[in-house]
């Protein structure tokens, strides 16, 4: 399943494509930034949300040499906040996708492998949870549990696992009909061995590509939840929260007076999402033989 040479070959083959190169470049920069964020941020304390002592004098300073992105309404250096926000963004996107992928894959594969009542029940739950909008779940969790990173992640996972369960169900459905899987079943191998060995191994690659391409959407949705004030508390280093403070809390008119508060975090969200989808797109084309075909034909 995890053959390093195999994966490096795929990456090497795709590196000829410009889009993939750009995507890998952006994603690498974002991940590296997330790791070394406190070293780069000029005012790491303010990045984490501490209000500086001389806040009164440096409120809402437009971008300058000292503060590259300017400062926010409480005098914090926006550049530091945005840079440290990279960390939250990566944590949010990766953990939402990873947890949903694991849960969804197991449930989807089980639904495809065990037929009959289990299949029907699991499919019913998949249908059910796919339909619930995550933003309302976030509102509910915000009202009962409160604010925090776990609330954002939980509200997204509650709806996202079903998406992966559906995809793995569709893929696994054809895999369990393959002859060697049926033979393994007939020869008495237990489901605990067949599922990881034959079924999951066969669908894993396609699921990984799907997961990479969804990282961006997860980030978009998480920052939308934070932007509505449903997830992380204000002051938290997260791009959606910074936009929440700039727009939702102070009203849209305030933004017209200090546009830098909105422009920079938004660009970061856009670029990060773009980077993830640029990585996933060529990989998907690589995986899907229909997309790989040369189109220079009759028309």
């Amino acid at each position: 399943m995890l053959l390093p040479t195999y994966y490096s070959r795929i990456i090497y083959r795709n590196l000829k494509k410009t889009r993939f190169k750009i995507g890998v470049g952006i994603s690498t920069i974002i991940v590296v930034l997330a790791i070394i964020a406190p070293l780069i941020a000029p005012y790491p304390d303010e990045g984490y949300g501490y209000i500086p002592a001389d806040a009164g004098e440096r409120k809402l300073v437009p971008p300058s040499i000292e503060h590259i992105f300017g400062t926010d309404a409480l005098g914090r250096d926006l550049f530091s906040r945005v840079i440290i926000g990279t960390r939250t963004a990566v944590i949010q996107a990766v953990s939402v996708i990873f947890i949903s992928l694991i849960i969804g894959m197991l449930i989807g594969v089980c639904a495809a492998y065990f037929k009959g009542i289990i299949e029907i029940t699991l499919n019913y739950f998949i249908e059910l949870f796919m339909a619930i909008p995550s933003i309302v779940i976030a509102l509910f969790l915000r009202l009962t549990i409160g604010q925090g990173l776990h609330v954002v992640i939980a509200s997204l996972v509650i709806t996202w696992w079903a998406w992966y369960a559906r995809i793995s169900y569709v893929y696994a459905k054809s895999v369990v009909e393959l002859e060697y899987v049926v033979l393994a079943k007939l020869s008495g191998l237990s489901a605990l061995k067949i599922i990881p060995r034959h079924v999951i191994r066969n669908i894993f690659q396609a699921l990984t590509v799907q997961a990479i391409s969804d990282l961006g959407s997860a980030l978009l949705e998480a920052s939308a939840i934070n932007f509505m004030g449903l997830g992380l508390p204000s002051g938290f280093p997260e791009w959606g929260v910074i936009l929440y403070e700039a727009i939702t809390e102070r009203g849209i008119e305030a933004f017209l007076r200090s546009p830098w508060l909105v422009v920079f975090p938004g660009i970061l969200i856009l670029v990060t999402t773009l980077g993830f989808s640029l990585v996933a797109d060529p990989l998907r084309e690589d995986l899907d033989p229909r997309l790989r075909r040369r189109w220079k034909l009759w028309f």
């Binding site: 939308a224 932007f227 849209i252 017209l256 189109w295 034909l297």
Partner: protein, 343 residues
């Protein structure tokens, strides 16, 4: 009958089951989340009337009965629309949702009215010119569009329209204009209402205020549809019947319209249905906070501030029901058009 009644029947039964499941799920959320469910149902009341309100909520939920009876009771209340008064608005919950829904749906329908054709057109254009510079340009644009955070784009559009034209498209209609011309909402769709009343001034005002949020929300469907349509058209162009048509010397335009477009309609309908629901959440985020319009977004914000669990649960159930209904309709339409799907 092009599609079997059996298939439609099965789809509808499944959707009803899912909607019932959502009601049960939301009730379980209310019961199992930390805190007393009666306090939550009463909206975390404080002050002198608090005990009475909580007792009333306890009665309403039937908390002294066994759990299955409570659930049956809850489902019954939901289906009859009898959820009590909203904490935040003091009017019946179903009325709150319906009034917000009309506003958001107006925005959504307006958005999809232009974004679906535009996305499809971009996709076809780029598939026909595949490999050229215009194709890679459209592809890049559509990837960027699909990964733009809408709430950010909305603020930028507001800034742009303010600095370019001096017009600040905030709210659904200018209240001064509505008052002076005697405009009154009837259906909640202001475009329709102003036309019914023959109020052209208000119609133009509503339309102008609709454009920036619609542009904001449209980026996702345009981006997604452009990419999906490109793949679908490119695949359809590889089919043997297209090859035969080219050999027969049929005009390119006719081939596209007669053979290619027809084969991509079912999947495009499905993608549009799925993204419609995704855009609904987008609209909820953008409309109130950025553009100051009433709608589902303002209901969401208000129930957050007033801890209105009734409206929250109702939102969950009604939005899910909406998603299910749209997707069931899409499936039925698709099965009617495309005989391969009827399983």
């Amino acid at each position: 009958m092009p599609v079997s009644l059996n298939y439609i029947f099965k789809r509808i039964i499944l959707s009803i089951l899912v909607i019932l499941g959502v009601i049960v799920f939301s009730y379980l959320l209310l019961m199992l989340s930390p805190g007393d469910p009666a306090v939550k149902w009463a909206g975390n009341p404080r002050g002198p009337g608090a005990t009475k309100a909580i007792e009333l909520a306890r009665e309403e939920l039937g908390l002294n009965k066994p759990l299955y009876m409570q659930i049956v009771n809850f489902i019954y209340n939901f289906l009859t629309g009898n959820l009590g008064l909203s904490i935040a608005y003091k009017i019946p919950v179903s009325q709150v949702i319906v009034s917000g829904f009309a506003a958001t749906l107006e925005l959504m329908l307006f958005t999809y009215f232009f974004s679906v054709p535009l996305g499809i057109w971009l996709g076809i254009y780029s598939a026909i010119n595949r490999g050229s510079r215009i194709d890679s340009f459209i592809q890049s644009i559509s990837i960027i569009l699909a990964s733009t955070p809408t709430f950010w784009l909305g603020s930028l559009l507001l800034l742009a329209s303010n600095s370019l034209t001096g017009f600040f498209p905030y709210g659904r209609v200018s209240s001064k204009l509505a008052l002076s011309t005697g405009f009154t909402p009837i259906t909640g769709f202001y475009l329709l209402d102003s036309l019914i009343q023959g109020n052209i001034q208000v119609f133009i005002d509503v339309l102008v205020r609709l454009i920036p949020p619609a542009l904001t929300i449209s980026v996702y469907p345009i981006g997604v549809l452009a990419r999906v349509t490109r793949t679908l058209v490119a695949e359809a162009l590889l089919e043997d019947y297209v090859r035969a048509a080219v050999a027969w010397g049929i005009k390119r335009k006719t081939i596209i319209r007669q053979f290619v477009l027809r084969s991509i309609v079912p999947p495009v309908i499905q993608i549009s249905g799925l993204s419609f629901v995704y855009s609904l959440v987008d609209a909820m985020v953008v409309e109130t906070v950025v553009f100051g319009r009433e709608g589902l977004g303002s209901i969401l914000i208000d129930s957050l501030h007033k801890a209105d669990f009734r409206v929250t649960l109702a939102l969950a159930v009604y939005l899910t029901a909406f998603y299910i209904i749209v997707n069931t309709l899409v499936d039925i339409v698709q099965a009617t058009i495309d005989p391969r799907i009827r399983l």
